[in-house]
C-alpha cells in the first residue's frame, strides 16, 4: 500500500532513535525529570502501543496519552441515551463498532442488542443512509461521534439525506471539537505537558492554523504527526528539536496528508449542518465550554435529539474511576485503583478500557513499557 511500508523502515527508525537520544542528552529538563509529550489523538496512542514505540524511546521521554479517543470520552449518560433510542419501537440504531461496548449506567449498546434492540454496526454513515432507503417503514438513527475527522462525513450524509428526501433517517449528534479540549488540558492546574503531537486526521480537516495559540500563548511546541512508526518518531524528534532550540512553534510532519490550510470542502459541509453547543459533557473531564456541536435548526428533521425524546440525564462517573486523571496525564493507567481488578477489557468500568484506542486497554493488552524496559535493563 502506498506510503505505508516506506514509513515502517527499521533502518530509518534506528537513525531517528539515535538522533532522539542525542537531543535528549542536550536538553536540560531531561536531566531533572522526564520530558512529557502528549499525543492528543487516540490513533497515535494505538500506533504507539502497536509498534512498541514507548519502549524504544529513552526513559527521559514520557508519552502522555491524551483525550483524543472520542469513544473514551463519551459520558455514561450519552450511552444511556443511545440505548433509549435503540429501544424505541420500529427503530434501527446504527453505530461504528467502537461504540458498541462502551458501558452505560445500565447497559451497553451490545447488551441492548442482546436484549432485542435492532442495533447494527456500520462502516460508514452512508451505509446507515442506505439502510434507511431500504427500510422506509422504519426509523434509522446514526450515532455520530468523533472529532473534526468524522464531522464532514456525517454532515455530508445529512445533506445527502435531505437532497434525496429520505425522511426516516436522522443523526444522534455527539461530535466534539479538538481545540477547546486541548485548551482545557492546558488550563488545568495539574498540567505538566512540555510538547504535543498534534492529531493527524483532525488536522487534515481543520489545518494547522487553529493550533497557533498553543505555541504563542502557552509556549508549547506542537507537531502534527502521521500514524506510521517513522511518522511518530520523526514528530517526537521535531518536538525535541524545538525544545532544544528554545522554540515553540506549530509544525507539520504529516504534509503528505495535511495541508496547512485544511480542507475547505469538508469545513463548508460541517459549518452548514452543525453549530457549537454552549458546553458538552466529557467522561472524566467534566463539562467543557463549546467543546461539542449540535445540528442547526434547518436540519431539525434529521436531528434524532429533536425528533425523538432523548432522556439526556447526567450520570456521574463511578467514584472509583480515575479516567479523568489518566486522560490528563496526571497518572498512568496502571496507577488507577481499579485497573486490571474491577476494570478490565471484559468488564470495563471506564471507557479507556473499552476502545482499542484507549490508554487503559492498550496498557492492559501490551503491558507497561516502562516496566518492560526495567525488566530488560536488569
Amino acid at each position: 500500500m502506498k506510503y505505508v511500508d516506506e514509513f515502517r523502515d527499521p533502518e530509518k527508525a534506528r537513525t531517528l532513535l539515535k538522533e532522539i537520544n542525542e537531543l535528549v542528552e542536550k536538553i536540560d529538563i531531561c536531566k531533572k525529570r522526564p520530558l512529557a509529550i502528549m499525543e492528543v489523538c487516540g490513533g497515535h496512542t494505538h500506533s504507539i502501543f502497536r509498534y512498541g514505540i514507548e519502549g524504544m524511546l529513552p526513559k527521559e521521554i514520557e508519552l502522555v496519552h491524551g483525550p483524543g479517543c472520542p469513544v473514551c470520552v463519551l459520558p455514561m449518560g450519552r450511552v444511556d441515551d443511545c440505548v433509549a433510542l435503540a429501544e424505541q419501537p420500529n427503530m434501527i440504531f446504527t453505530t461504528f463498532g467502537d461504540a458498541m461496548r462502551v458501558p452505560g449506567s445500565k447497559k451497553s449498546l451490545l447488551q441492548a442488542k442482546a436484549d432485542g434492540a435492532d442495533v447494527r454496526m456500520v462502516y460508514s454513515p452512508l451505509d446507515a443512509l442506505d439502510l434507511a432507503r431500504d427500510n422506509r417503514d422504519k426509523e434509522v438513527v446514526f450515532f455520530g461521534l468523533g472529532f473534526e475527522t468524522t464531522m464532514p462525513s456525517t454532515a455530508l450524509t445529512v445533506l445527502r439525506a435531505q437532497a434525496d428526501g429520505i425522511k426516516n433517517f436522522s443523526l444522534f449528534c455527539n461530535h466534539i471539537t479538538i481545540i477547546p479540549t486541548v485548551k482545557a488540558i492546558l488550563d488545568s492546574p495539574d498540567m505538566k505537558i512540555d510538547g504535543f503531537l498534534g492529531p493527524g486526521h483532525v488536522s487534515m480537516v481543520i489545518g494547522t492554523k487553529p493550533y497557533e495559540f498553543i505555541a504563542n500563548h502557552y509556549k508549547r511546541p506542537l507537531v502534527v504527526a502521521g500514524f506510521e512508526p517513522l511518522d511518530v518518531l520523526h514528530s517526537v524528534w521535531m518536538v525535541l528539536k524545538q525544545i532544544d532550540e528554545g522554540r515553540s512553534e506549530i509544525e507539520n510532519q504529516y504534509v503528505r496528508i495535511v495541508p496547512d490550510e485544511g480542507n475547505d470542502e469538508a469545513l463548508n459541509a460541517v459549518s452548514k449542518v452543525f453549530e457549537l453547543r454552549e458546553f458538552f459533557e466529557w467522561r472524566g473531564l467534566g463539562s467543557i465550554d463549546h467543546s461539542g456541536v449540535r445540528m442547526r435548526e434547518e436540519y431539525a428533521d434529521f436531528d434524532a435529539e429533536r425528533k425523538f425524546s432523548v432522556p439526556n440525564i447526567k450520570i456521574a462517573d463511578p467514584k472509583s474511576c480515575q479516567c479523568g486523571e489518566v486522560l490528563k496525564g496526571v497518572i498512568k493507567p496502571f496507577e488507577c485503583k481499579v485497573f486490571g481488578k474491577a476494570c478490565t477489557p471484559e468488564m470495563p468500568l471506564g471507557a479507556l478500557m473499552v476502545s482499542s484506542e484507549g490508554a487503559c486497554a492498550a496498557y492492559y493488552q501490551f503491558g507497561d513499557p516502562d516496566r518492560l524496559r526495567e525488566l530488560e535493563e536488569v
Binding site: 537513525t15 531517528l16 490513533g43 479517543c69 454513515p125 468523533g146 462525513s153 445527502r160 496528508i257 495535511v258
Partner: protein, 93 residues
C-alpha cells in the same frame, strides 16, 4: 476509529452524487469524493489518485511530492549520522 487507509481511485461511479470506486489492497468499495474535488481538481481528474479513505469518504488526496520530501529528510538524517560518525572516528584517530 480515526485512522484512515490509503486507496487508489479506479472508477467514477456516480457523477451527480460524487461517488467513485476505490481499491484498497484489492478490496473495492464505493466512496464519497465530495471532500477532495473542487474547481481545480474535478471528479474526472481523480482516476488514479491516491486518497486517504475514512469511514466511506475520501478525506485527503495524498501528496506524493510531500511524501517523497519527508522520506528524503529522513534519508538525509541517516546520511548526516553516518558523516558525524565518520568525523568522530577520524577525530579520535
Amino acid at each position: 476509529m480515526c485512522l484512515g487507509i490509503p486507496g487508489q481511485i479506479i472508477e467514477i461511479t456516480d457523477e451527480a452524487r460524487k461517488l467513485a470506486m476505490v481499491d484498497v489492497s484489492g478490496v473495492h468499495r464505493e466512496i464519497n469524493m465530495a471532500c477532495v474535488v473542487n474547481d481545480d481538481h474535478r471528479l474526472n481528474d481523480c482516476i488514479g489518485d491516491w486518497v486517504l479513505v475514512h469511514v466511506g469518504f475520501a478525506m485527503s488526496r495524498i501528496n506524493e511530492e510531500e511524501a517523497a520530501l519527508t522520506l528524503k529528510v529522513l534519508e538525509e538524517l541517516g546520511e548526516a549520522q553516518e558523516e558525524i560518525a565518520a568525523m568522530r572516528a577520524s577525530g579520535q584517530m
